[in-house]
């Protein structure tokens, strides 16, 4: 809409009638003087509508993964710096499902959590399909004609090591380790969200409180030593079960288990690269624990090569 939209035209009409009325003797129907003064002091301006953000996808013909992403990513494939998003991004990459990524935040998601997939629309007449939340992405991908993974019940148990021990260690390491929070979490999640220091302070506090609350669900206190110890035990268990295979499921392509682990190991290693002004760990305790298990470091490289294809 331009500046001379219908609203401003209306305003001109009003002022013109006012001008003509003011010459006539005041009648019961004319506006009282003080109210007229108020209307006169506020010229009615119609602002242009906000443009849709540039990153909003215009092509609906492609599957779209909405996830947390950094605008100025150095990699060719913009890998998400958030483990939950990276897991599903790597999963779709590994399954060779064509998709585009769109940077989004939690408020954009129907379920309130990232990532989610908007499936492609084949014709223009088709209605917008339902968004697919992260818990349903696997089933959706299987419907797209990828090979269904055979479920290994033993890997189910090992999955809980990733969900529990490694995730807890990640939460502590990123949000509650004060130096890492300043150097990584603040730069990833706080400074990208707002430039207002008040908003930033609130957001930082909320993030740390949420991480703390997560860790306190199972214990009544948070103990760094315990957390790192169980992460170490989890890494070494995973390294043992992995023993010499290319990927965990024994096949030539990474499966859900591989990408779940990759999401954490890749970010731990990637945020240690000292390049340009990318966020980087200032405390390397958890990274050092991971580096003790070289087979997992190599596993991460293999998954990365398979997904990104460098």
């Amino acid at each position: 809409m331009t500046a001379t939209g219908p609203l401003s035209v209306h305003h001109e009409q009003i002022s013109s009638t006012r001008v003509t009325q003011s010459k006539q003797p005041p009648s019961w129907f004319s506006l009282p003087a003080p109210i007229r003064a108020i209307f006169d002091t506020f010229p009615l301006i119609t602002y242009d509508e906000n443009e849709l953000p540039q990153r909003v996808s215009r092509s609906r013909s492609q599957n779209t993964l909405h996830m947390f992403a950094l605008a100025d990513a150095s990699d060719d494939v913009n890998l998400s710096p958030n483990p939950a998003c990276l897991k599903w991004q790597a999963y779709l990459l590994a399954k060779r499902i064509p998709f585009q990524t769109v940077s989004a935040n939690n408020h954009a998601s129907p379920s309130g959590a990232l990532p989610f997939v908007l499936p492609a629309v084949r014709s223009r007449k088709e209605p917008q399909p339902q968004a697919i939340s992260s818990s349903k992405i696997q089933r959706w991908a299987e419907n797209q004609g990828t090979t269904e993974e055979k479920t290994d019940l033993r890997l189910e148990a090992y999955m809980s090591l990733i969900d529990q021990s490694i995730r807890n260690a990640w939460l502590y390491y990123l949000y509650l380790q004060p130096r890492n929070f300043e150097s990584v979490a603040r730069r990833l999640y706080v400074e990208t969200a707002s430039s207002n220091p008040l908003v930033q302070a609130t957001l930082a506090h909320q993030l740390q409180a949420a991480a703390r609350e997560q860790l306190l669900r199972t214990r009544s206190f948070i103990d760094q030593e315990d957390i790192y110890q169980s992460a170490d035990a989890a890494f070494s268990s995973l390294a043992t079960v992995f023993a010499g295979q290319k990927f965990f499921n024994g096949s030539d392509a990474p499966g859900l288990f591989d990408v779940s682990l990759f999401a954490y190991t890749h970010l731990l290693l990637n945020l240690a690269k000292r390049e340009r002004d990318a966020p980087v760990w200032t405390n390397e305790a958890l990274l050092e624990i991971l580096l003790r298990h070289q087979s997992l470091v190599q596993h991460r490289q293999r998954v990365l090569d398979y997904c990104v294809g460098t």
Binding site: A157, L161, R217, D223, S237
Partner: protein, 417 residues
């Protein structure tokens, strides 16, 4: 003498809490019954860690507390090599090698992260089970005033722990509130309640909330039981040829899951579908927690009046809406971080932790006392002033120029100046 402090018995088992049950099973199988005692103290403040199960080691003057199942396992296996599970030291599976250790770690974490939320759902989140069984069981074992405050708090934390399973629909109270809110919105709000047609969907016709969530419950319970059934097969133990740490944890969880006298027994019904697990649970439940187990119970000493006052103050502080003092306990939990890692030679890891937590609690108590003193002295001053015993002189400032308030012509007409 080793003391194990736990939540008290319920459902025909020694403890209502699965983690306490697991610790009980571990001690029962590894330590001769004349060398330890089981104390149903029901009091998280018994140790400086605010958590149960808590193991107290040492004599009355100097003792160390170890809390949580994992820490208790690692304590017994490192400090008390003489105690054995079967013929092998606690927590080691020498014949299984690295693979066995990896499996142990994975399945322990599996039981913890997938099994405990199921029990939370069944005993606390499901409204039917909570109101008819769990709440009364808790109020039987808890002393006053904790019996009023703790059940609700346990339910709150159970709800949080199990929310990721997406089965909050079992909590009928919360769901009904939501439905009522929906009903009173929009067009239907204009129609009197007695004239509204009840909206019947297929799910609501299915009856109880457990029936409605049937498919989701099936999936969630299968996710937990199937890997365990596959691991156990027809064997007598989950890993190796001897009773191990994993068996202790599993018997605690599965025994509690097999409790069938609940209004919504979906969890025990799901367990019935796995023949090997069912058989194993029946055998080991009786052996570990039954009459033959001969657990070395010891009565809890009567509470002194100072403890009672402390409990009352704590309950009030934690349940009042303005929890200035209460938040210092819950919002800022002890963080055992870098600063506390300075290892002192000759002091074990457990003692170091305990000292840290004691200091933390001491700080919290100081904060509480200061706040309580401020509030009570402010109250006292207020009362004295009100009664006229104390007169306060406020400093008066003389205005240099009196402000003239005028109300114009109307003011002078009405006599206001």
């Amino acid at each position: 003498m080793i003391e194990l402090h736990i939540y008290g018995p319920a459902f025909g088992l020694p403890s209502i809490d699965p983690r306490c049950l697991a610790a009980t099973a571990l001690l029962q199988t590894s330590i001769p019954s004349d060398q330890w005692v089981l104390v149903p103290s029901n009091d998280v403040f018994v140790s400086p860690f605010d958590e149960l199960p808590a193991l107290k080691v040492g004599n009355a003057s100097s003792h160390t507390w170890i809390v949580g199942f994992r820490d208790i396992v690692s304590y017994i296996s490192s400090e008390h090599a003489e105690y054995r599970l079967g013929s092998i030291p606690v927590s080691t599976y020498p014949d299984l090698g690295d693979q066995g250790k990896a499996d142990l770690e994975a399945y322990l974490s599996f039981l913890e992260s997938r099994g405990l939320p199921l029990l939370d759902l069944s005993l606390y989140v499901s409204s039917d089970n909570y109101t008819t069984v769990t709440r009364s069981a808790l109020s039987d074992i808890l002393p006053w005033p904790q019996s009023w405050t703790i059940p609700q708090r346990l339910r709150e934390s159970a709800r949080k722990r199990s929310e990721h399973l997406g089965l909050s629909g079992l909590d009928v109270d919360a769901t009904r509130e939501k439905e009522l809110k929906k009903e009173n919105e929009g067009l239907s709000a204009a129609i009197p309640k007695s004239l509204r047609l009840p909206k019947k969907s297929v799910t609501s016709l299915l009856g109880s909330p457990a029936e409605q969530a049937r498919f989701r419950l099936e999936a969630v319970t299968a996710d937990f039981f199937e890997p365990l059934e596959a691991l156990l097969q027809g064997k007598k133990h989950f890993l190796g040829d001897e009773t191990g740490v994993l068996d202790c944890f599993a018997v605690a969880l599965l025994s509690q899951m097999s409790t069938s006298d609940l209004p919504q027994p979906w969890l025990s019904e799901a367990l019935e579908k796995y023949p090997n697990l069912r058989r194993w649970t029946c055998e080991n439940k009786e052996q570990t927690f039954g009459a033959a187990a001969n657990l070395p119970w010891r009565r809890v000493p009567e509470r002194s009046w100072t403890q009672l006052v402390r409990d009352v103050v704590n309950s009030i502080a934690e349940s009042s809406p303005v929890t200035i003092a209460g938040t210092s306990i819950r919002a800022s939990p002890a963080m055992f971080g870098d600063a506390a890692q300075t290892a002192t030679p000759g002091v074990s890891k457990y003692e170091r932790k305990q000292i840290f937590h004691k200091n933390k609690r001491h700080q919290q108590n100081v904060v509480r006392e200061v706040i309580a003193a401020c509030v009570s002295s402010a109250g006292l001053v207020g009362v004295l002033v009100y009664m006229g015993v104390l007169t306060l002189r406020w400093p008066t400032f003389r205005r240099t120029q009196p402000i003239r308030q005028t109300f114009g012509e109307a003011g002078s007409f009405l006599g206001l100046r």
